[in-house]
Symmetry: D3
């Protein structure tokens, strides 16, 4: 009788996509305008999903207020109004694609969510481009 | 060759979250402002999904007009513009969290949908908080 | 060179529409299911708009953070997770229709916004029903 | 470490639902106003999802620009601003229900997406009616 | 103390844009893919706005249920799941652009709404293209 | 018989808010996290509205395809996937607040739109913060 519960949050950040091992030409060819060395940015929409059984005393799988606070404390403070490439240590040597941002968020939150819950991340970079990790 | 088909409906309802076995202090601590004894309310968005094979004569898995009518008849008439705690018998002794509302809706509709179809419920309490049952 | 700047906030509340001077029959006839004596509720979306000239030092007409804080302090604390009829003094003898809620919000905020700014309120009761005050 | 990556596109098309083997009465009974012989139409929202592992050099599962171009080349040019029944060969003898449109799009795109990627289609006929293929 | 009250409805229709006085070449040049002689279609979102003073007995400017019924009776029955060029008399000799559809809807509804109310129409042909009549 | 016609486009950009005449302390106090010297970013949604009379031959106030191309040519090429402070000349000495971005876009487009049309800009920096110029 498992239920998935989800909380949507958002953060606004700058980023640049490139591979430091490649030439400028190769980076331009692969990443196009996302390779602008002066950065561009997005309003990221983040959906965090936990799967578990509702508690019989509360009717909650997980308190959404607590989940929102966990996301603010462990993700938004680090990511919101930041330059992902420069300000966020996880992306010092990892390209901040939506795929990698979702995996990093999953790894951070996984440490703060009891293992009785499955954890999933959905991240909208724009309303037209989004990713889910882990894929089901 | 199974296809999932989904219909979105909505209902507006009042509710209050609390556990009658707990003190007021404990209820306030756990449910916070959701524990207002005078109730608060939401525009619930309900997505009902059926999974099955398209009929070769119609190209439909299930007629969305028929599904919409089933939802109206068995759910919306009971839930829309109601106080979930007072007006809906299922929540007389069950806390009307989004999790429990989704499970109740699933149980009601399951009786009216042929078992050849898998049934899933997605319920948005707000655009930031939503649940899915059963979880996959 | 006036610019309109807008901030969207939200609150979730219960309410009931009725006129205490009318019979139950008349209230049912006029307000239908909105007259449920046990209340129903909504996720209200509130857009507050100020019109003025951008400040030459900041480029702001008005700091959206400050506007958000004003809305939280003067509106959301009173309205969010409340029963509008019971918990909010303004509606003790005023029917909490979307029209009246918008007018009440305008009157409250007008006292806290400098008169150099025009003030407008847009209130969504549902995504299908919404009001604007003052009308232009 | 699989990630699902999704791209949303859209097309606007006319269609009519009917079964040529049936009488007009039967078609009216089953398909109702969707059986208008003069056609009606929709803004279809199409979400194409690929599932795979991020490439270690790019951080991409799949370049969204390349996916968008594939969708434009193989789907939108054929479907956008078209009459699905008349202009699109796949529906000459197949009823263009949302279910069948999603299956046709999946079959077309499957030929152009490397088999290392799982492929899923989500198609909104309206914001209230949508389908997913294959169902999970 | 005027308030604007708005109701959102929707209809799904096929149409074709062309000028019968022009050559096929000129129609193609001006209307492009919208000139497909086999039609294409849209999910039109229609917002009808009335402006007036709230009634002191009800707190309503206008009952949204009554407005919704007026729109259904006078617009949706004629327009929904129709071919605008063929099935709707108003467009027999009038190109069904979003601009003209909005003007036609305004003229129809104006006859059924008391003149104490200002009337405005907003029509989304897609989420990216929309019109308002009269313009303010 | 004037009609307003609107086209929605979008661009993704990085920016930083600050006043070079102010100390770091003052900039931090006024602009808060928007003053991050490493930049942050947004998905800007841009709505361009023209007001005029429909042409009797086309039924168009203005061809939305032509308007979309004008926006792409004069705005998006300069703004999309750019750092507004560094890459866009207009903001070399003008703080790229939403207010100022809207005014700059209006001034650029005004030169390319015939004066028979009124021109309005609506710019969403996030779904919660947006501006309109000129204000009405």
């Amino acid at each position: 009788m498992k239920v998935a519960v989800s909380r949507k949050e958002h953060f606004n950040a700058a980023h640049r996509l490139f591979n430091p091992d490649w030439s400028d030409e190769k980076n331009d060819q692969v990443f196009g305008k996302c390779n602008n060395p002066n950065f561009h940015g997005h309003n990221y929409e983040l959906i965090v999903t936990l799967i578990g059984e509702p508690d019989s005393n509360t009717g909650y799988v997980f308190d959404m207020k607590v989940l929102s606070d966990l996301i603010k404390k462990h993700i938004l403070i680090q990511f919101d109004h930041k330059n992902l490439n420069i300000d966020v240590a996880h992306f010092k040597s990892l390209n901040p694609t939506a795929e990698n941002i979702a995996i990093v968020i999953w790894r951070i939150l996984r440490q703060h969510i009891d293992t009785q819950y499955d954890l999933k991340i959905k991240l909208y970079e724009t309303e037209r481009n989004f990713v889910e990790y882990p894929a089901h």
